[in-house]
Structure formats: structure tokens, C-alpha cells
Symmetry: C2
Subunit: 200 residues, 2 copies
């Protein structure tokens, strides 16, 4: 195998092992066996199990979210909910992230990396979507982006990752409306208010 | 030790071990050592590690939530948020539940018990609080209690258990208002609408 191939094979094997047995029971030996490489090949690249796992998480976090700008806050919310619902079906979200969140309570290095990734994502979503909505005059100028992200991401995360109830299209429509109104957008008249300074 | 004392000691030791090492690495031997009992004493009561853990979760779920009826939806939300914020600081919520949620992805017995507990809690909160608010005329009669619970519990869970950002009083006030309005309560005029049939 070429160098890059070996690294990719190890990463793939790690994801599969993590999903199958969890961080606590994960052994470098099993990852090596699954990847078809020697333990030395792994230790040459990563010093320890923690480093290997953190590297994967950081790599996964580099995948950019699609830019959300459908022209309205409600449209942006609907699109984001679809992206989030899709992402929460990936094993990374349903098995590996919960495992690492649990581990983070015991391991400061994992905790720090996860928080960095989460904060960056929050920033990306909150900063961008809220800023657009404020500029369009849909949300008050003093909207707190961090609190907004809690309201935007929380309900769907709770439903899919914790309570694990199914989604329906009508549920998502109701949620879009509830979150938009909760954020401070006017009630559901499909005519956006234009009270912002005309900077566009 | 008396019989009941031994059971209590084992339960306590299990909670501490779970918080310290997580489900994956938990050994009955370590629990026995911490509880000061023999492994046999544990196996006499519970057949396996899974059974022991499930028993604890089920027992924790028997603790009743305080009945929430402050006279208004906003008051009930504010009180619930305080209860939830407090509960999420307990090791059971911050270390053990995330661990079991991760394990649930791999273990149907854990999955089923957790879901049963969560559903019961949802029912308790959603059914009760939403029903009261509907009766008071604060919420529309067709409010879906399950979707309502997502909106009520999701943002705070996301903030405290996942993003782990701190809370402030003003944050909680904003959240109460956002959730109330998002659920369909009228905007923040501190005079509740009375449009429900006079059944009280």
C-alpha cells in the first residue's frame, strides 16, 4: 500500500471499530487487524489511541457545511434541518460522537477537541444564518447568535439523537415555524418585514 | 451489612465506577471492590453487568419530577428549566447517561430501557404542562405534546450537555420567552389570553 492509502485504511478501520465497540473497549490491535497493517504502522503515525481518535474527529470537522442562503430565514431553517437530520443518520453522529461526548467527561484532551469543533460549527451556523436574517430585517439586530443556535439545533438534536422519534415533513414545517417565531421573526405571514437599513 | 445496605452499597459503587471509567471498561470486580462486597454478592442479585446497569437507570427514573403548575405556561417553563439545569449537573446526567446513550447504539436491551424511561419522562412533562397551558387558553388545543417537548427540552439540553456553554438568568428569561412564543403562546404581554372553554 502507498503511504496515503495506509493512513486512509487506518482511519476507516478506526471509524468502524469505534462504531462497533466504542472508545472504552477500542484496541489499537483490533484497528491494525481491521486495516490490514501492523501496530507499528499506527504508532508511527499517532502516538496513542487518544491522538488517533482526536485526529479523526478534527478531520471530520473539516468537511464544510453547505452555505445556507435561500433568501429567507424560514427557507434557511428548513434547509439546515434537512442537513442536520441527514448528518444525524451518519454513524459518526449516532455512534461515535455520543461515545466521545461520554468519554470527554473523563478526558480533557477529548473534551477540548470536541468543544473546539462544536464551537466552530456553532459559529458557522449561528454567525452566518442569523447575520443574514438580521440584514434582511427578519430578526432583531440584537439577536444573540449563541442562544439562537441552541434554539435552532437543540429540538432536532433532542428528537433524533436522544428521544429518537421519527421525523415527518409536517413536523419539520411546524418546527421551522416554531423556531422562526421563537427567534423573534414575525408570525407566519409570507411577506418578510423590511426594517433593516438598506445595505443591500 | 444488612441486605438492603449491601444492595445500596453496590448501587452507589456502580454509579461511581460508571462515572469514572464508563460502561465499556466497567468491571463487576471493580464495583465489588469499591462496594466492599464479594463478586458473588453482586451476581446473586443481578445476572450480568447489563442487568445491573439497567436496574440503576430504571431506579433513577422512579424519582418523580415535581408537579409543575405555577399558574402560567411561562412560569412553568421557568421552573422546569431550573429543574433540568440542576439535573444536568448531576453525574447521572453528565457522565452516565451519555455513556449509556452511546452504548445503546450497540446494545438493544440498554436501548429499550433508556427509551422507555425517556418516553415516560416526555409524557410526564409534555402531557401535563401542555395540557394545563391548553386549558388556560395559552396554547392552541391541537398542540402536539411530543413536538412541544422537543422545543422545551432540546435547547437547554444542547446548551448544557453538548455545547456546554454556561447559563445566565437573562439567558433563561430569553429562552422562556422564545419557547413560549415558539409553542404558539401569544407575544410577551403579561396578561394571559382566556379563549378556552370555561371548564375551570
Amino acid at each position: 500500500m502507498l503511504r496515503g492509502d495506509i493512513t486512509a485504511a487506518i482511519r476507516r478501520a478506526l471509524m468502524q471499530e469505534l462504531a462497533a465497540v466504542g472508545y472504552g473497549r477500542l484496541s489499537i490491535e483490533a484497528v491494525a487487524r481491521r486495516a490490514g497493517v501492523s501496530k507499528t504502522a499506527i504508532y508511527r503515525r499517532w502516538g496513542s489511541k487518544v491522538e488517533l481518535v482526536l485526529d479523526i474527529v478534527a478531520a471530520a470537522a473539516h468537511g464544510k457545511l453547505p452555505a445556507l442562503d435561500t433568501g429567507s430565514l424560514r427557507g434557511d431553517l428548513a434547509l439546515l434541518f434537512q442537513v442536520v437530520a441527514h448528518a444525524l443518520r451518519h454513524p459518526l453522529a449516532s455512534q461515535i460522537i455520543p461515545d466521545l461526548l461520554a468519554e470527554a467527561a473523563r478526558n480533557p484532551a477529548i473534551d477540548e477537541t470536541l468543544q473546539k469543533v462544536l464551537r466552530a460549527r456553532q459559529q458557522e451556523i449561528g454567525g452566518h444564518m442569523i447575520e443574514l436574517a438580521v440584514r434582511r430585517g427578519e430578526l432583531p439586530a440584537d439577536t444573540d447568535p449563541e442562544a439562537a443556535v441552541d434554539l435552532i439545533v437543540g429540538p432536532l438534536y433532542w428528537r433524533l439523537a436522544i428521544a429518537r422519534n421519527p421525523l415527518s415533513d409536517s413536523y419539520l414545517e411546524t418546527l421551522v415555524e416554531a423556531v422562526a417565531v421563537g427567534l423573534g421573526a414575525g408570525a407566519a405571514v409570507p411577506r418578510p418585514r423590511r426594517t433593516a437599513p438598506a445595505d443591500r
